[in-house]
């Protein structure tokens, strides 16, 4: 391939990434308290639409970002996994709230201690629940990741689960 062609492809890829990061179709998998803050973020005061992620798609086939919002119990975990499997590539996962990040203070028989035990997670938004500002910050981090993927041509690895949590 001539040199200028590869230059064009990489520029095109970057442009695609730019377009893609501002047209996020999200699937809000809302289970618990964090859903209230999710609502607040999505509505007029904080207006997630400014970041191009305004339109929630409630079908996994039409979504490319899975927002896991709220505690996942062991009863719910298979459902979450299945929804994640149903989403088409490319797909990203955002863990919204501390229960999805680590399990939070529900360290008991019923809850999954962090969804990263069952799914690869791209962005963690801690907080119980996170404030809307925090959610927007997490969303921008995700946009950076999407952009980076198109710029370098390879997917940034999902966040590592810290060693200490496995114990």
């Amino acid at each position: 391939m001539p040199e200028h062609a590869s230059f064009l492809t990489s520029r095109l890829n970057e442009a695609l990434g730019w377009a893609r990061k501002y047209s996020i179709f999200q699937y809000p998998f809302v289970t618990a308290c964090c859903g209230m803050e999710y609502m607040a973020t999505a509505c007029s005061h904080y207006d997630v639409d400014r970041f191009g992620a305004g339109f929630p798609r409630f079908s996994p086939r039409q979504a490319d970002v899975l927002f896991v919002v709220g505690t996942i119990s062991h009863k719910m975990a298979p459902v979450l996994k299945r929804i994640h499997d149903q989403m088409a590539e490319p797909k990203w996962v955002v863990a919204f709230g501390v229960c999805t990040c680590t399990g939070g203070f529900y360290d008991n028989y019923a809850t999954v201690m962090g969804i990263d035990t069952i799914l690869p997670v791209d962005v963690y938004i801690p907080g119980c629940p996170p404030r809307p500002e925090m959610v927007l910050d997490g969303l921008m981090k995700l946009q950076d990741k999407i952009h980076e993927e198109h710029r370098t041509g390879e997917r940034p690895a999902p966040e590592e689960r810290p060693e200490t949590l496995d114990a």
């Binding site: 062991h74 360290d107 028989y109 999954v112 990263d116 069952i118």
Partner: protein, 191 residues
């Protein structure tokens, strides 16, 4: 005026094992044979008219008072004394019986605005009491929950299956011998 306890006790002298009104909560400890009759009585008697079955739950008394000693000194901690305006003439008589479980019913009457509590001790060997579904349809789910979390069966319940946990779950998590963080995941970790 006779208290609610006296009314129930005079009507069912054999079924009532004991009673108390600690902190103003009138409580009747019933033998389980007499439960369904007594429940029907409090629901239908015009002076009691308990039309609400407000709550139905259970307590596992197997670890009552047997917890670890306080961390450093037994004198640590604060035993709180009540103020005089809350009735507390008699101390609480203690767990209802030596049996492991107690099923607890809370009734309320919208006509008389009074509350009554039934406590039915249930043994570990045969954890079964009569179902109240025929009297209050709301007992259906509440009894399922008690079965799910405590493993107490309800005789005559139309559909006794787990409600909060999943079918594959083994054991009953609110029993005191179930460790708080013993997990039974349905799916394994990501590979």
């Amino acid at each position: 005026m006779t208290t609610l306890i006296e009314r129930v006790a005079s009507r069912f002298p054999d079924a009532v094992a004991s009673s108390h009104a600690w902190r103003g909560d009138e409580t009747v400890v019933l033998r389980r044979e007499g439960l369904i009759e007594a429940a029907r009585f409090v629901k239908e008697d015009p002076d009691l008219a308990m039309n609400f079955l407000m709550d139905l739950s259970a307590v596992d008394y197997s670890a009552f008072g047997k917890g670890p000693a306080p961390a450093f000194f037994s004198s640590s901690g604060v035993a709180v004394r009540p103020t005089p305006n809350i009735p507390d003439e008699d101390p609480w008589p203690g767990p209802p019986s030596s049996e492991r479980f107690a099923v607890v019913y809370h009734f309320f009457s919208t006509t008389h605005k009074h509350r009554l509590r039934f406590v039915v001790p249930v043994g570990e060997d045969e954890p079964e009491v009569d179902s109240l579904v025929t009297l209050w349809p709301g007992a259906n789910w509440l009894e399922r929950e008690v079965w799910d979390l405590f493993g107490i069966r309800f005789k005559g319940h139309p559909d006794l299956r787990r409600i909060l946990m999943y079918e594959e779950f083994e054991g009953h998590p609110l029993r005191k011998d179930y460790p708080v963080n013993k997990r039974q995941p349905l799916i394994g970790p990501v590979n």
